[in-house]
């Protein structure tokens, strides 16, 4: 298993990559900045798994990212401490200098 590139506590930005085919990286988290709160096991990324490339697909570590709701939605009507967590594979994430 590859060593995860990001550590719990790291600040990351979700990339806004082209996705011609299948992905499970939601539009609303792209370009948004969040914090890594947990590691998930390495797995074949959805972009390959969707084509049944379970043996030959690219494997990457996954991460749980926590976003502040106000980061996701500039017009958020709840409270500033509200959050959302979701997961992303490594290639969707880039480091943000703190």
């Amino acid at each position: 298993m590859a060593k995860p590139k990001f550590q719990v506590g790291d600040t990351v930005r979700v990339k806004d990559r082209t996705t011609l085919f299948h992905t499970r990286t939601q539009k609303f988290i792209r370009k948004r900045v969040g914090t890594v709160v947990a590691h998930r096991p390495e797995w074949v990324i959805p972009e390959d798994e969707a084509w049944d490339r379970m043996e030959t697909g690219r494997k990457e570590p996954f991460y749980v990212i926590r976003f502040k709701q106000t980061e996701l939605w500039p017009d958020y009507t709840g409270l500033a401490h509200d959050t959302l967590e979701t997961e992303a594979s490594e290639s969707w994430l880039e480091s943000v200098k703190g």
């Binding site: 096991p41 959805p46 509200d82 959302l84 979701t86 997961e87």
Partner: protein, 232 residues
């Protein structure tokens, strides 16, 4: 489309014929199922058995998990550390009953513990991922675009529509199940349940409290009615 439905004077067609119309999705399901059966991937009997199982699973497994965790701190620890393994202690094996479940169906199960500071709620904005082995089939509303779209964007307003008004000092944390993990909320044990057995506790841990759109109460069970006699 609509003008062919239920107009009551179309060649004497009645409601029975209208309701027998098959959607494109159903045709697709049927075609894939028949192909799979022809190829010997599974038999019609396997399919029937699985459908019967899937439709019969309710939220009882989840209720049991929560009640046990409320009663047994060591189990709670195991449940929070490795949900999939801890499930086996109450007889839920995520790869059963088919024995052919793949890790891509449901792999990792995580229990989200509510605290006085954090209230968790689950949604799947991409489709309708749901921890079926422990909660059964998801409610219809859980799969609607309205719930999925709005729960991530305006969670407090959606929770209020369910009658759940959370205080301002509580952080609302939405979990969007977009990858391989499946989640279930472990609500806080309500007051007035001191000395209750696991069985009694399980009855107030309803489906909605484990999705996170409701809080358990000592005076409310999923089978409301028998409650009064239970508590007396």
């Amino acid at each position: 489309m609509a003008k062919h439905h239920g107009d009551g004077h179309h060649d004497g067609h009645n409601a029975f014929e209208v309701s027998s119309k098959v959607s494109e999705f159903e045709i697709l399901e049927l075609a894939v199922r028949e192909l799979a059966i022809e190829k010997g991937i599974f038999s019609a009997e396997d399919h029937r058995r699985f459908a019967e199982w899937a439709e019969g699973v309710g939220p009882h497994g989840g209720s049991k998990l929560v009640a046990k965790a409320w009663s047994d701190p060591a189990f709670k620890q195991r449940l929070l550390e490795n949900g999939t393994e801890a499930c086996k202690e109450v007889g839920i094996d995520w790869l059963q009953p088919t024995g052919v479940g793949t890790p891509s169906d449901y792999t990792f199960f995580y229990v989200l513990e509510n605290t006085p500071q954090v209230h968790n709620v689950i949604v799947c904005t991409l489709c309708s991922c749901y921890p079926r082995p422990v909660l059964g089939m998801s409610p219809d509303w859980y799969r609607t675009p309205s719930y999925r779209r709005r729960m991530v964007r305006r969670p407090r307003e959606v929770l209020a529509e369910f009658g759940l008004h959370l205080p301002a000092d509580v952080e609302v944390r939405v979990h969007d199940s977009n990858q391989k993990s499946r989640f279930m909320v472990m609500p806080m044990r309500p007051e007035g349940t001191e000395g209750w057995s696991e069985e009694q506790l399980a009855r107030i841990v309803t489906r909605d409290t484990m999705i996170g759109v409701a809080l358990p109460r000592a005076d409310r069970t999923s089978d409301a009615g028998s409650l009064a006699e239970q508590v007396r």
